[in-house]
């Protein structure tokens, strides 16, 4: 019964900051094992949407169901068993070692005293291997580069072993090489277990190449939801509409296209 339920089901979602409405009656259904990219201009409510799903914000109106249950009805612990969230950036220094930070992702399964069991160590080891960060587990979080940090944050969420993963612009501050490593990690993860991913991104090519589905936000609601193949086929027109700048397809050698992306705004 539960398996037929959508992983994420959003109906008529409204949210605002003060008097400015950010999301206006947005609806979305995401099935299990899909990877969604949420794209759109700055300030269209992409991050707001993902924070609403994560239960970090409360909607004004509308219902968000994760795994068939209203997000508001989850207890803190239960919520953490269903979804993990990776923020856009850290708002301060995390004064722990990488290993300890990832172990903190096991908070839920550890008892009151927070003593890790062999299962917790196993989950952390697995997360470390999936994210390819074995070489830095002994480092302090504060000494990591941006690219390393993103993968460590991902590993913390992976260690939570949730069926839903929410990523808020995970690769915005990464160079192409580290972006590549990040998506390698996601691919390995996806291969290992059933996982639904919702990712906010600014990178159209990431959305098309790395995700199965795309949701494009404009003025607080979706102007497109569908598979990324479908999105790619409607690309220049749709992109122009979303961002109000004209996009061009860059065709160069395929290697370059992979590294630098196929869709971009021509520079003057």
């Amino acid at each position: 019964m539960k398996c037929t339920e959508a992983m994420l089901d959003i109906t008529d979602l409204w949210a605002s900051y003060g008097s400015a409405a950010v999301l206006r009656g947005l609806s979305l259904r995401i099935q299990r094992n899909e990877r969604w990219a949420i794209i759109g201009r700055n300030g269209t409510g992409k991050s707001t949407l993902i924070k609403l799903v994560a239960g970090l914000l409360n909607p004004e109106q509308g219902i968000i169901r994760v795994d068939g249950t209203d997000v508001k009805r989850y207890s803190s612990k239960k919520r953490a068993q269903v979804m993990a969230y990776v923020p856009q950036k850290l708002d301060g220094i995390i004064p722990y070692s990488v290993h300890d930070f990832i172990m903190l992702g096991r908070y839920n399964s550890m008892g009151l005293l927070g003593v890790p069991s062999p299962k917790d160590y196993e989950a952390v080891r697995e997360a470390i291997d999936i994210c390819g960060i074995r070489h830095i587990v002994g480092r302090l979080m504060s000494t990591l580069s941006g690219g390393e940090l993103q993968r460590v944050l991902l590993a913390g969420a992976v260690a939570q072993q949730t069926p839903l993963l929410l990523l808020d612009e995970p690769t915005t501050f990464l160079d192409p090489a580290h972006e590549c490593l990040f998506f390698d990690a996601l691919a390995r993860l996806h291969k290992q277990r059933e996982l639904t991913i919702v990712m906010v991104t600014h990178d159209i090519n990431t959305a098309i190449a790395q995700c199965t589905h795309v949701g494009a936000l404009l003025d607080g609601s979706f102007i497109f939801t569908g598979t990324s193949r479908e999105f790619a086929s409607r690309c220049p027109v749709l992109l122009d509409e979303i961002f109000s700048v004209s996009f061009e397809r860059y065709t160069c050698s395929s290697r370059n296209a992979e590294a630098f992306g196929a869709w971009g705004v021509p520079c003057l």
């Binding site: 239960g55 970090l56 908070y107 009151l112 927070g114 002994g138």
Partner: protein, 335 residues
């Protein structure tokens, strides 16, 4: 990989070292004072034995728990507000407790309620009220670290304004009594005062000891902590109330003693980068406790025959340390 072992081993080494230091301080410091009291003297001289057993020993034990309690309270404030400079003193909690106690001292309220003296009760109320004011106005409304500290300064200033007023209307004798108390000191404490300190502080340590994993989560930021399954609001409120009560009972015994809550946890963090709260709390307690034991020994020895209030010593040592932490705020090793 190679770097991971030292990070895990060092906290234990640190705890052993600090335990030795603390035990040494607790054994040696009671002997030191205006008059040196060696174990031999205690055997032979009954006056010295009385001084040693009934004045210096309780004083040392009170110092240990006051210093340790303030250090742990500072550590908790730093975690739940994610602010490296938060401690009972800088947040104005000590000032609130002082005002509450000052009212009771000058009003001459004697009597006891629920086994607490009126001064204790006043300090507890003052601590809780001032924490709530700071929390409601500075933190819960999208506050950041600086507004929190500024609110602490404002609360402390307002409280000292009221205390000045109490001085003014209190008369000379009461005023001097109050002034001496406000300087902060552990002189003249008895075993019964030690008891009134140890019971609430032990309860405090047991309660927070159960929630150390939540403190670890706070330092990853509210968003991550929330997604890990911490009920941020409930947890933060619990820590605020429990810590305010602990600070209140400390201030009731020995007046406001500043900066230990900043010094001890940060010194531990500097020595063991990446240390987590379960071990950090033990280290902070030992370091804060032994620091105050030594500071109090200095206070009663450096200017004989008079004794300096220990609050003056901790302020003179703690102020510069506070500045170091302030300017190293962006430093990568600290929080």
């Amino acid at each position: 990989m190679g770097g991971s072992m030292p990070l895990m081993k060092r906290p234990m080494a640190m705890i052993v070292l600090l335990s030795v230091l603390t035990i040494a301080a607790v054994i040696v410091c009671p002997m030191i004072g205006i008059r040196w009291i060696s174990p031999l003297c205690i055997m032979h001289d009954s006056d010295l034995r009385f001084i040693f057993l009934n004045i210096r020993i309780p004083r040392t034990l009170v110092s240990l728990f006051v210093g340790g309690g303030l250090a742990v309270a500072g550590m908790i404030y730093q975690a739940i507000f994610r602010n490296p400079l938060a401690d009972p003193y800088t947040l104005g909690v000590s000032s609130g407790a002082s005002l509450g106690a000052a009212v009771c001292i000058v009003a001459g309220v004697g009597g006891t309620a629920f086994g607490m003296s009126a001064v204790t009760f006043g300090a507890l109320v003052g601590a809780v009220v001032s924490t709530l004011i700071i929390y409601v106005f500075a933190w819960s409304r999208e506050g950041n670290s600086s507004t929190l500290l500024l609110a602490g300064v404002v609360v402390a200033t307002v409280c000292s304004g009221f205390i000045m007023f109490i001085h003014f209307v209190g008369g000379l004798h009461k005023s001097f009594q109050l002034l001496r108390w406000l300087m902060g000191g552990v002189d003249g404490v008895s075993y019964s005062m030690f008891f009134f300190l140890v019971v609430p502080l032990t309860a405090f340590f047991i309660i927070i000891g159960l929630f150390m994993p939540q403190l670890d989560q706070f330092l990853t930021g509210d968003n991550i902590a929330h997604s890990r399954g911490v009920n941020i609001r409930v947890s933060r409120n619990m820590f605020i109330i429990v810590t305010a009560l602990a600070v209140g009972s400390i201030v009731a015994v020995c007046g406001p003693i500043g900066f230990i809550g900043v010094i001890a946890p940060h010194a531990c963090r500097m020595l063991v980068p990446g240390i987590r709260h379960r071990l950090l709390s033990v280290c902070s307690f030992l370091l804060g406790g032994s620091f105050l034991v030594v500071a109090d020994t200095l206070a009663r020895s450096i200017a004989p025959p008079s004794e300096i209030p220990v609050g003056i010593i901790t302020a003179m040592l703690g102020g510069p340390f506070f500045l170091i932490v302030l300017f190293r705020k962006k430093s990568r090793l600290l929080m």
